[in-house]
């Protein structure tokens, strides 16, 4: 069997699995899996760029995804009445001051000779800068958060079309990646891992606590959508007629229609990104990256700028994750900072890339769909398994109750098992790198 046939049939199997979900469970669930599968595939594409192409070990994907979500709020939500006048100027000023302090510290570090005077001067500068920053920021934040805290209490967004938030999400993530890359790339791989893990936690902490920016744990709900609302469709007589023509009731038809529209949008983004990733993989740039990955010393000896290439690909991969994050928040039409869990948003994406085949874009996409399908379906399967195991026990026996209650936690276990089995017996993944 040649590889093309094998790869096409692998994709076909995933397609059949999703179709089966539609026939056996519900079409709503099937399209939801498809939508999240598309988003997961984009995230996996971003991680594959970093790990598969360049061998960079990034475990802060959650942070970049969350930044994309934040972009959605900042771009598409209507601005809060009077918030900017109340404290916006102070906040912006404080951000500028903060950035200026850090820039000044960097300049100072470069300008002064090594020794203790430099250390003391830098610490003094940073401490003074920090206190000025807080003195400017705090009253502004208090003023913004005082505006109708139950409904708003934050700056709001720009009120622009939500689709614009997708590229902006990518830019946000790219900015964060630039900061991390500048400091942590070039160190050992484990250090980059820890640094990215840390920055992701910090991004989530900021989103949970800076109420003026993202409403924190109060969540932002009702983010505008790029597609029509179900209620409007059900009120549209033309749509109801067409639905009736297909033999569907209007409620069902409208939810499916909306989800399919989303699927179309996501598919378009995925195809564009996949095309770009394929092109870059085949380009001289892609070859250079793989040369660096396989032998850094040799590539450097050939005059390749290893650090710069690493920084580029790190920023690009993170930007893709940011775009996917913005798309996901758009799909949910709400931003819930406490929903970002590293196991779900960082490590699961890694499982997708490894299982699908690191270094191969189609592999990453396949892994995204397949693992997302498993992630959703393992729960009912786990419950079924528990039902079978405990069938012989009497009702109310503590072990039976416990096992049935804990079936939900089978997910993590299964994902770990899949990852370990693939790494052990098929380390190159389902669709290996050519």
């Amino acid at each position: 069997m040649n590889t093309t046939v094998k790869n096409v049939s692998l994709f076909a199997i995933v397609g059949v699995l999703i179709l089966l979900t539609g026939f056996l469970q519900s079409w709503n669930a099937a399209i939801l899996i498809l939508n999240m599968g598309l988003i997961s595939a984009i995230m996996a594409l971003g991680v594959n760029l970093q790990w598969g192409f360049a061998g960079l070990f990034n475990i802060g994907i959650m942070g970049f995804v969350a930044l994309g979500g934040l972009a959605t709020v900042l771009v598409s939500m209507p601005p809060t009445e009077g918030a900017f006048a109340a404290g916006g100027v102070r906040v912006v000023l404080a951000m500028v001051m903060g950035a200026a302090t850090i820039t000044a510290a960097v300049l100072l570090y470069r300008a002064m000779a090594k020794g203790w005077p430099r250390t003391v001067a830098m610490i003094a500068l940073l401490v003074v800068g920090f206190f000025i920053y807080r003195a400017v920021l705090d009253p502004g934040v208090a003023a913004i958060e005082a505006i109708d805290p139950a409904a708003t209490g934050y700056l709001g967004g720009l009120g622009l079309p939500v689709l614009l938030a997708w590229p902006v999400g990518g830019v946000f993530a790219a900015g964060a990646a630039w900061l991390i890359g500048k400091t942590a790339l070039g160190l050992r791989s484990d250090y980059l891992a820890i640094a990215t893990l840390g920055i992701a936690e910090i991004i989530i902490a900021v989103m949970k606590n800076e109420d003026w920016l993202s409403r924190g744990v109060k969540n932002v709900i009702g983010i505008p959508r790029p597609v029509p609302y179900e209620i409007d469709l059900q009120g549209d007589s033309g749509f109801v007629e067409r639905a009736a023509g297909l033999g569907l009731d209007p409620v069902m038809a409208s939810t499916l229609y909306v989800k399919l529209l989303y699927a179309g949008l996501f598919l378009a983004v995925l195809l564009v990104l996949l095309w770009m990733a394929q092109k870059s993989l085949a380009s001289p740039w892609g070859r250079m990256l793989r040369a660096i990955r396989d032998n850094e010393v040799a590539a450097e000896a050939m005059g390749k700028d290893v650090k710069r290439r690493h920084l580029q690909v790190f920023i690009l991969g993170s930007a893709i994750c940011g775009i996917a994050g913005a798309m996901m928040t758009t799909l949910d039409s709400q931003l819930t900072p406490s929903a970002y869990q590293p196991l779900r948003f960082t490590f699961l994406i890694w499982v997708m890339v490894i299982v699908g085949g690191s270094g191969n874009n189609f592999g990453a996409v396949l892994g995204g769909f397949l693992i997302w399908f498993l992630w959703v379906q393992v729960e009912p399967m786990g419950r079924l398994l528990m039902d079978i195991i405990t069938a012989g026990m009497t009702d109310g026996y503590w072990l039976k109750t416990h096992m049935l209650d804990s079936a939900a936690h089978m997910r993590l276990f299964t994902m770990g098992l899949v990852l370990l089995l693939v790494l052990r017996f098929n380390p190159r993944g389902l669709i290996p790198e050519k």
């Binding site: 061998g55 400091t183 791989s189 820890i194 490590f347 993590l412 790494l423």
Partner: protein, 336 residues
């Protein structure tokens, strides 16, 4: 008098919690650093190893409590700790046999082992949640306070109270005992010396007749003991919740790297550096400054540099500073 009050306030809110937290981090970081030194990879499953050991201890504690065994004023968990350690040793040795040994024999790259440890992390996390659930568990019993704030005030006649919880005292004592044992083992016994030799120079150690599999087994056993102790102490001091152990991963790694990966002494120093930075930066200094400064200068705000939710940011920033300016850590560690 005000000066004394200020000192007591600092001791109560910064010194005592910092020492307890620092000891817990140090024990965790020792585990990470030993694995790094001997097995040469960063073990991301370490937080969940701690959770597993602590979970076995919690279950054993409940069992001991149910049959009426207790240690009087001390928590029963101390009696259950050896059972937890045994359980954790079993888990780690089984993991090594089933998972890590294959990659060790293949001489896989460290980064592959890191990814493998991610898979192990998933599985351990799943097991812990499956057995005990994701919620908070209470397993502390015995005396709550060594000195309560009120007794202290009555004893000294000061306005400020100094409270020392029994768990904080136990943490410190246990940590000192465990660290003393560890260093005695590493420096004085033949097995410990072979471990250090293996960590310093693998080839030379092999030539001198050190049995690598034995060294690895010893390492896992020691790591299991350290991780379980750290996990139980943290659980007694705060509370046992599986997810918090995963979140401890960042400060623990920060401690190990700040101290110098692979260097046990550094791990302890790093643990205290991280713990004290976290506590001092997130503590509201209003009260202390109120005692020290004349009334006219007393601050209006809380004088809290960062809210407690940003404690991760503190360990992260320290980590970054160390990585940028002293990549091998405060004490010289390895860099592969």
């Amino acid at each position: 008098m005000d000066f004394l009050n200020a000192i007591i306030a600092v001791a109560n809110y910064v010194l005592v919690p910092g020492i307890a937290y620092g000891s817990q981090l140090a024990l965790g970081a020792l585990g990470v650093t030993l694995i790094y030194g001997i097995l040469r990879f960063s073990n991301f499953a370490h937080g969940d190893t701690m959770a597993f050991g602590a979970m076995v201890t919690v279950l054993a504690t409940w069992w001991l409590q149910s049959i009426g065994v207790s240690l009087g004023p001390l928590p029963t968990a101390l009696l259950a700790l050896p059972i937890g350690i045994l359980g954790c040793i079993g888990l780690l040795l089984a993991t090594d046999r089933l998972v890590y040994r294959f990659y060790r024999e293949k001489k896989a790259k460290p980064v592959i082992l890191v990814i493998v440890s991610m898979g192990v992390m998933f599985i351990m996390n799943g097991i812990v949640r499956f057995i005990i659930g994701p919620d908070d568990q209470q397993f502390l019993d015995g005396e709550r306070f060594l000195i309560s704030a009120r007794t202290f005030r009555e004893m000294t006649g000061l306005d400020e109270g100094l409270a020392i919880r029994s768990t904080q005292a136990i943490t410190l004592v246990t940590a000192v005992v465990v660290v003393a044992l560890l260093f005695w083992f590493l420096n004085r016994t033949r097995a410990g010396k072979s471990m250090r030799a293996y960590s310093d120079n693998e080839d030379l150690a092999l030539l001198s007749g050190v049995n690598p599999e034995r060294v690895v087994m010893l390492t896992w056993i020691i790591v299991a003991a350290l991780a379980t102790t750290a996990g139980v102490l943290y659980g007694l001091d705060k509370s046992f919740k599986p997810f918090t152990y995963f979140q401890l991963l960042l400060p623990i790694f920060a401690s190990a790297i700040v101290g110098g990966l692979g260097n046990p002494l550094g791990a302890i120093a790093g643990g205290f550096v991280i713990a004290f930075s976290e506590v001092t930066i997130t503590y509201a200094w209003k009260k202390v400054l109120g005692y020290l400064l004349p009334d006219s200068l007393a601050p209006d705000g809380l004088v809290q540099l960062l809210s407690t939710d940003y404690k991760f940011a503190v360990s992260f920033v320290i980590l970054l500073i160390v990585l940028l300016f002293r990549p091998t850590g405060l004490f010289k560690g390895q860099s592969v």
